[in-house]
Subunit: 268 residues, 6 copies
């Protein structure tokens, strides 16, 4: 495995990440023990960004895999491909990460089928190895390798949950939307608008988040606030920007839309 190969997974520039609590320090301690880490929290609150930031900070390569219900263990571990000279083994992203000592980030891991989660078990206990059963090889994880998964506990899925034997292999960090001041700072910075406007967008978002479980599945994410700010920065009037970026994506229920529109009208 050449260094060049490893380099392509390095984060070159410091990602914009605004520390909220002691999550950086806790993650560093967990990484020092190479403890597998589970990031819990709602969609769009910065979990993926945090992993990128930590990978940059720790100067480790990062390999991200967006999990889905049709992903198989082979998609993670690798498979034989047919070649001019017969079959050729191709490492999957998890195997590459184990070999080069990357942080492997499995995003929304509950979406994956069980074989995908079970396949990480030997990498998450004292063995720190990955058996490539189809190839007959036992990959010892590189000393720098760490596994990180994300998990949205508010996402109600009766059919899907991690097994206890998987859960109990991870230390866990809770994520939530940042405090109002920090979130406004993020929205102003990423969306290119004035802080005053950003404050108002955050207040709209907070109203929507209080409606979670009362007609909304989720409140407006920081990402949507940045979208609204970007539209405003392109000259769209705030109410139209908020409708397009905050209200319409969230819900099709007419009453809930009225409620959210009223929240927008209050601040703009």
């Amino acid at each position: 495995m050449s260094e060049t190969h490893r380099d392509q997974y390095l984060i070159r520039e410091e990602p914009y990440y605004r520390t909220v609590e002691d999550e950086v320090r806790l993650y560093e301690a967990a990484y020092a023990a190479r403890m597998p880490v589970m990031l819990k929290g709602p969609t769009g609150c910065g979990k993926s960004r945090f992993v990128e930031y930590m990978a940059w900070r720790l100067e480790r390569p990062l390999i991200t895999v967006a999990c889905n219900e049709d992903m198989t263990a082979s998609d993670l571990v690798g498979r034989f491909l047919l070649d001019a000279d017969g079959t050729r083994w191709q490492d999957g992203p998890l195997t590459v990460a184990a070999r080069i000592g990357a942080i492997c980030y499995l995003d929304e891991v509950v979406e994956a089928r069980q074989d995908t989660t079970v396949v990480i078990h030997p990498l998450t206990d004292h063995r720190r190895c990955l058996p490539l059963e189809k190839k007959g090889e036992l990959v010892e994880a590189h000393p720098d390798f760490q596994i990180v998964i994300s998990y949205n506990p508010g996402y109600q899925s009766l059919m899907k949950d991690l097994k206890q034997s998987t859960k109990q292999r991870f230390g866990a960090l809770d994520f939530s939307y940042p405090g109002a001041a920090i979130e406004a700072e993020i929205v102003a910075h990423e969306g290119g608008i004035e802080r005053d406007q950003a404050d108002r967008l955050v207040q709209v978002a907070q109203r929507s988040r209080n409606l979670k479980g009362h007609g909304l599945d989720e409140g407006m994410s920081t990402r949507l606030l940045v979208y609204a700010a970007q539209l405003m920065a392109k000259g769209i009037e705030p109410r139209a920007a908020a409708q397009m970026a905050l209200v319409r994506p969230l819900t099709d229920d007419p009453d809930m839309r009225d409620t959210l529109d009223a929240a927008v009208d209050t601040y703009f």
Copy 2:
């Protein structure tokens, strides 16, 4: 990727599109920010035509994918094909769009399996990349690339909805049937009949749309009105044309057919 290849996806002639509200301006701002856009609205109201129009207006190639429940992530991203010299990678339509800087339009995206929707996540946030995990390549999206999806919220499907973590990656535009005057203009233009006749067809359609949820799943679309107009333009008497193009396709319920036939009789 040669320019010729890109050219085949360019819209050569201005598609007939009748602006309804400020959707063109909002879309242009969203495109300027390369914000992913979700078009919401009932079947046959002009969503696909709008995307074609915008692609023509912005002079960007357009790649359309009609989604369905059997489509896999590989259908979007690409796959290895067996060749005389072994396997050869073939880009899927999403990958082609990301490489050449096209607008990629995923029509009726809720029909697709979840892996198809999750695969677009890294293209819809700050990363703007598409990992081809099977090939081991990370495609950086072309600066002109944008993703657009359509979504019919009135289409009642208990089993199918976009996940919040997907929804919150898009700005959204609502579409509906155009106002009566505009719709009659469209029907007369596309169907080749007099404006007066077109007005009557639109009035029939509006009656049917009021029956939505009261025995009809959907009202008559603009497309069906154009069909009726085309039959009339070929010499079929209006009532027979309306039966063939407006009533029979919509429902097999005898009572509802009587109601709709009565509506036709009122205007013709």
Copy 3:
């Protein structure tokens, strides 16, 4: 695509078809507008025969596909086959029809999986094209191409129905059993028996059709009447012929069989 290839799909001899109402004129107008057409009606009432007749009358090739629930989009569109020199693309019947300008008749389309129905969408609107995504080719439909589907609304299938976004792409023609005189003419002609005998068979069939929904899923089709007539023409006595061709295929319920046998006894 050579002319020879196209020729094999031409109907050489006029199919026996007895016009019932204005269906020929309406179909000709729809074909002139290249409007997709949906034929609705019970099993065995002549829908397939009608399409053959129209294809003969319009001098267009006809490609018929009997749909079923295991049919995939690839069965319609085409697939790569492995060859001595690697993979070779083979057009499916829909693609062949689009290329040579045939009428493509998808029989019992609700039986097919959704991907089969979605794949026809771009051929049924203003685009009139068929994207071969796996091949990376966009087939423009030949100007003569038209799509026709059949649909049995009385066939109660809770799980299966066409989506509105599919339904609203078709003009529709209703089919039913022909009137008594016409049906007897058909049975006498196709079964090779006297008109008087044919009249009696039709009367038996009409009794059975009144029992639809009252213990029978469907009444006796015109096809079964022709079968009974053929047995009679081979020397089988009418009651035995009616039992074999009309009663036993329809039901295994003893009471219903008695009722139908009594109807046979009334007329023979």
Copy 4:
């Protein structure tokens, strides 16, 4: 298609078949019209033997396919196989039958998936052809070709039934166990025991058949009677033979076994 190939499907010796009613004459008339035929009746009552007998009598090759729920249309129609020189098409049994003019007997056709039944539709109406869609060939059926299916109406399967559009393509013959005298003759002949012993076995069987629907799914078939007779012919005492061949295969319910054992004790 060489004659030799066709010859291997010919029935060389007259199968032992005992005519019950007018089924031979009716079948001959149906075959003369090349009408598709459906044989209905309980398991082990002689349906398969009847088809063999008719194939022998008509001097036609017979191709039998035992249907099952995992059978695909390709199993019937054929498929491409990979060869040293690429892919090679291999006709399935239905295609072979259509080419060489055989009687194709689909045993227990309701067990098959719907695609297997839909694939026979074009062979069962005036078209008499079989489209090999994957190969792009339209096989015209040989003039001698006929299709026969079997169907056990007493076999209660909520999920499985033929569609009306399939049922109404067949003339139907009912089969049942033969009358006592005929059945005893069969059992004595095939099992190699005295007629008197055979009479007793038949009486046991008739008792069991009266229990159908009252704790038994099916009564004892003629085949099981032959088994019991064969054991007796090998020197096993009648009660032990009846237990092994008649009672134990039929049911595991202790009360029902007692009832059947009592019936055995009555006659032996």
Copy 5:
């Protein structure tokens, strides 16, 4: 098919089998008639051992297939494998057995999918043949060939049962645990302990068998008794051996474990 090949399936040494009733004589008569045989009985009572014994006694090769719900017909019949020179047919175990005249034993046949059971039909009636449809070959069974299946009627599976049309193709032999004296003899012989100790183990087992249906799915099998005996022979005290080999494998229910432990304490 070389003799050597056939030889590898011969049972070289007499398997230890303790005759219980007249099962050997009945099986020999059934084999003489080449009648298919079904062995019914609870798990671990000696069905597999009996077939081995009979194969040894009759000097016939034995091919055993452990059935499971993922087994396909191809696993039994054979399949084409890709070779350097294209595809090569590989006989499955059923085909091998039919060719070389082996006894083919399908263990726990209800576990298999229906296609696996239907595939044996033509081998279990007067035809005694196996159509290899994919290969286009009709294998005539060797005169020595016989088919044997096993079936556990006490194993409650609502979804799984043999079809009557399969059941009625077999003579059946009931198996149960042997009588106490015989079972103790077996346990002492196979486990290497004194007869007195073996008697006690059998008494514990009989208590557990009375609990079947009253909190236990099955009682302790003869096999588990042999395990307990083997542990005792290695120096483990009887109570610990009984816990490890008899109680813990059977149930996790605390009350039931107490009951079984008490039974152990009674005898040791």
Copy 6:
């Protein structure tokens, strides 16, 4: 099979394992009889570590397979791979273990599909063989070969359980969390903290284990305690370490989290 190959599965260094009861002696007796062994107990209590320890102690190679619901029999037994010279057979881990005389440990075997569990049957009775049906080879197990499976009886899965015919092939050992003193010794040793701190962590864990079935699916495992200890050893204050490693991974229920936090506060 070269010795080198076998060597890679040997455990080089003594794994840290703290004997709890007489499990070592019982396992040794079972191994001496080559009896298949089932390890029962909650997640993270040391089952896998125990097998490693025994493999080291007995100087036998160990092959571990983490089972999952998508694993097929081929994943265990082996498969044909396509090679430059056609297909090549590759032994699966179970086959390798049978050949080289390893202990084969199937972790969480109930997760696997039934075909995976049925495939081990002939290796778990007197036959001690593994039929490679696809290859046509019968592998005789090496005299040292033994099979071990693990099973979590507290893991409530209505759909999944081992069949009795599988269960009754194993001697069983119960595992649970070790006693408080032993567990604290393990936590101090593996986590690198003082015994006093470890005692407190164990007390927290015991509280959580009492909540099993009262709002928690499982209590805190020994593994999680080691994680908390490792964080503390890296300088994280005990409450933060306990939150990250003990509370958050276990549950998302706010009340339950409060209860567990209170337990942490009691001891730290």
